[in-house]
């Protein structure tokens, strides 16, 4: 069952990611990304991270991606033009990316034997455990996020606001 679920949702995630690249319209890309994120949420569940799975949907799919679609809708920017990057990007970028993937996969495969098998419902992390670490060991970073969010709000407002009286 774990295997089946993993395969299904891994496939969803990959398909979503590929679709994100292939789609020409930003809104389709955004929807593909939502598919990826939701599939990842399921994978998190399989890995026993139930709180994260929900947070993934609430924060990523439900807030961040809504912002994205919101902006796409607001700006109503049409399809991308079909310019496939510069020559440098083609000549340097793709081999580099291929190398990156090769290195990553090779590394993981080589390192993989040090890691175990994962079965369903082993090591589920409850929200209580999570919060215990979060509010004890990692109290400082948690407090820091408040500054981060404050900056983000401040910055977003500052940038997106229309300065009245200016072109």
């Amino acid at each position: 069952m774990h295997l089946v679920l993993f395969l299904i949702f891994a496939l969803f995630a990959l398909a979503g990611a590929v679709n994100l690249l292939l789609q020409k319209h930003p809104i389709n890309s955004a929807l593909s990304l939502i598919v990826v994120m939701s599939s990842l949420a399921v994978l998190y569940l399989l890995l026993g991270a139930e709180f994260l799975a929900m947070a993934q949907i609430i924060v990523y799919a439900g807030a961040i991606m809504v912002l994205f679609t919101f902006v796409v809708m607001l700006l109503n920017e049409g399809r991308e033009e079909k310019t496939w990057g510069s020559h440098t990007a083609k000549t340097l970028g793709f081999p580099a990316v291929a190398v990156l993937l090769a290195v990553l996969s090779a590394t993981i495969l080589r390192a993989g034997r040090h890691y175990g098998m994962i079965s369903l419902s082993d090591g589920v992390t409850t929200t209580q455990e999570l919060s215990r670490v979060l509010f004890h060991d990692l109290l400082l970073p948690f407090e820091l996020t408040s500054v981060l969010i404050l900056i983000a709000i401040l910055g977003a407002v500052a940038l997106a606001r229309k300065d009245n009286g200016e072109a």
């Binding site: 890309s29 890995l47 990523y60 807030a63 961040i64 912002l67 310019t83 990057g85 990007a89 910055g155």
Partner: protein
């Protein structure tokens, strides 16, 4: 009913998604799609974190993901605000046309 999956499959999936994100960053022409590719990369990293957290039975890995989400939210707010301001200034989101300052 309860089959197992090797941990490296999750990691490979994560690597593949990360690479796809990098590809997207390189080939996409619309600012907003490029930004989405970055989000894809962050998501891929998160999957790695969760897998490792499961492997080490370390809650910290999951919390890291939680913080990445926070950061992603903050980045999204700022990034989209920047996109809006650039659209106001230039009327386009195509990278090739945003070239006041060429390298």
């Amino acid at each position: 009913m309860n089959t197992t999956v090797p941990a490296e499959w999750y990691l490979i999936l994560s690597a593949a998604l990360f690479t796809l994100g990098v590809v997207g960053f390189l080939i996409k022409r619309s600012l907003i799609s490029i930004f989405m590719s970055i989000e894809l990369m962050l998501n891929a990293v998160n999957l790695s974190f969760v897998t490792f957290a499961h492997e080490w039975h370390a809650v910290k890995g999951q919390i890291f993901v939680f913080f990445v989400m926070m950061v992603a939210a903050a980045e999204a707010a700022v990034g989209l605000a920047i996109i809006i301001s650039i659209f106001r200034a230039r009327g386009t989101l195509t990278v090739d046309q945003i070239d006041l300052m060429k390298l």
